[in-house]
């Protein structure tokens, strides 16, 4: 009898624990849309919309929830703790691949201008000509940024063939630079902005580079974040979409001030960079993403 009591108690405790772990609160039930984000300066439209009351103007009440990483925000979305989350494309694809039955959909994108940028480590005081013999991280051997850089370097009399290029994903470049594993990184402007905030120096920048190559198609190249939604009523998704598009139309200075307020990212470091903007998913991207795109049904 005693053992049976213990067994029942254990079963009840396990049920409570499992239910607690998987407890899914009704999303948007209280009329408040919970938005998961990581406080990155690349989410300017979100911060502008909050600061300037654009969400309220569109009939939405929102609550921002900041996470330490986008994967944490992804888990919160899966568990129904937030209704909307902003995740990088690579992480979004992982989430959608692993949890395609969870009802998570891509409802929009936050884009940032491409811009080929060479960032050198903070302890190096060098010029473009001094790069010969140094180790520079680039996206891939055939990356459009690398082609553009090599072309521009040649114009400045630098032999790019003497630079030791190593190839790695954009998101791992900054940690490699921080750890001193490479002397410089050839990256997209969005990552250069973050690198500059860590004290590294921009040595070269070309905004004329046209995004898109074999490994990173044009329709995806400028996407910094996907806006993912789960079990959110269509009127709320449409409201979010309208509010973020409206926020993207506001002057860049508004965005920079909103970024500074929400992320403490200094205004000075933002100058010289464009600001991110929210876009609806284009036809090409929609075709590529297929069922993962939110359709309102």
């Amino acid at each position: 009898m005693k053992r049976l009591c213990f067994s029942i108690a254990a079963a009840v405790a396990a049920t409570a624990l499992i239910a607690l772990v998987a407890g899914v609160p009704g999303s948007g039930d209280d009329g408040v849309i919970r938005i998961g984000h990581t406080g990155t300066p690349h989410l300017a439209p979100l911060f502008v919309a909050v600061e300037q009351g654009i969400f309220e103007d569109n009939g939405l009440r929102v609550e921002l929830k900041r996470f330490g990483s986008t994967s944490d925000a992804g888990y919160a979305l899966l568990a129904g703790r937030v209704d909307v989350a902003f995740l990088e494309p690579s992480r979004s694809f992982r989430l959608l691949n692993e949890h395609d039955e969870a009802g998570v959909k891509i409802a929009g994108t936050v884009n940032f201008d491409f811009g080929a940028t060479l960032v050198v480590r903070e302890d190096l005081n060098i010029r473009l000509g001094d790069l010969e013999g140094m180790t520079v991280a680039a996206g891939s051997r055939h990356c459009i940024l690398l082609s553009q850089f090599k072309h521009d370097a040649q114009r400045h009399g630098v032999d790019a063939g003497k630079i030791n290029f190593v190839y790695t994903a954009f998101e791992t470049m900054l940690p490699a630079l921080e750890a001193g594993q490479v002397d410089a990184i050839l990256t997209r402007a969005s990552y250069a902005l973050l690198a500059q905030a860590e004290g590294h120096k921009i040595l070269y920048q070309n905004w004329d580079v046209v995004p898109g190559d074999a490994c990173c198609p044009a329709y995806l190249a400028q996407v910094e974040y996907f806006m993912l939604v789960k079990d959110l009523e269509p009127r709320y998704v449409r409201g979010m979409d309208a509010a973020l598009r409206e926020a993207s139309e506001r002057p860049p200075e508004d965005s920079r001030n909103a970024i500074m307020k929400h992320t403490q990212f200094p205004l000075g470091l933002q100058q010289g960079f464009p600001v991110a903007r929210y876009l609806v998913i284009g036809q090409e991207l929609k075709q590529e993403l297929g069922d993962w795109v939110w359709t309102g049904n």
């Binding site: 067994s7 254990a10 499992i18 998987a22 994967s71 992480r91 692993e98 949890h99 750890a179 001193g180």
Partner: protein, 277 residues
């Protein structure tokens, strides 16, 4: 030749006997009817609730899925290799901590002069949560094995140090007085009185240290490592593989539990008279 063979056979027999005693002890002490009374319903519910759709199976993977994933990790993702490299980092940190903490603890417990000089410093440093050391450790030691070993060391060092110190300090004065009456030197006192008296405290400190060291191992592997069970855990998290995360967590739990069992066995062997007191 015959004698050598006899010694080898005896040695092998002894090892087998000890191993048999160790595993029998584990089975007898842990896998009891009382344990299964609690364990079995939990496992059944854990399996049933996701399967019945009460909770989403992707968020709460049932044990059968976790078992499959564990097998997949073992066969296709070099789980053994990851566990091996993690254990290497862990045992290096553990060894450095034990080798330094026990002598310092003994000296602090034995000598008032040393105690007054060293104890306040350790008492100030010890409450700093070990993960708070991560950024400074990266600055000082970079990212790699030294940093990982140092972080494990930090987790293990203080429990072993303070338990050793306490064990030596709490030695019954009658034992010390008796030994002195028989002309024991200070070194003999340490070897024959203080250390045996502190043994169960030291083992307890190592047990706590193992638990904290494992925490620090995972923390250290989450920062800049490309191998190890902690890295595998973070990688699984980044890929939204909850089943893999659970498999890694259970592996870690098993390692911690097994090491604690080893320490219990060592305690029985070294300080039998203290066990169960």
């Amino acid at each position: 030749m015959d004698r050598k063979l006899t010694y080898e056979t005896k040695g092998l027999n002894l090892v087998l006997k000890e191993l048999s005693a160790f595993f029998t002890g584990i089975a007898k002490n842990n896998f009891t009817v009382e344990f299964f009374t609690v364990f079995v319903p939990i496992i059944i519910l854990w399996e049933a609730l996701p399967r019945l759709g009460v909770v989403p199976p992707t968020l709460v993977p049932p044990p059968s899925v976790v078992a499959e994933t564990f097998w997949d990790l073992l066969v296709n993702h070099d789980l053994i290799g990851h566990v091996g490299i993690s254990l290497l980092r862990f045992f290096l940190g553990l060894a450095v901590a034990i080798v330094t903490a026990i002598p310092i603890g003994i000296l602090m417990g034995w000598n008032m002069f040393l105690r007054r000089h060293a104890l306040p410093l350790f008492q100030i440093l010890a409450p700093i949560p070990s993960p708070a050391w991560v950024p400074i450790t990266i600055i000082l030691l970079g990212i790699g094995l030294p940093m990982q070993v140092f972080l494990v060391f930090l987790g293990v060092f203080y429990p072993v140090l303070f338990d050793t110190y306490q064990g030596v300090k709490d030695t019954d004065p009658r034992y010390i007085a008796s030994a002195r009456v028989f002309g024991a030197s200070e070194l003999t006192l340490i070897k024959r009185v203080y250390l045996p008296n502190a043994l169960s405290f030291i083992v307890m400190g190592v047990k706590i240290g193992i638990a904290l060291g494992l925490v620090m191992l995972i923390v250290s592997e989450m920062v800049g490592a490309h191998s190890g069970i902690g890295w595998l855990l973070v990688e699984s998290k980044d890929f939204f593989r909850i089943d893999r995360m659970v498999a890694c967590m259970l592996t870690l739990g098993f390692i911690g539990w097994f090491l604690i069992e080893v320490m219990k066995y060592i305690e029985i062997k070294l300080a039998l008279w203290k066990v169960g007191r």
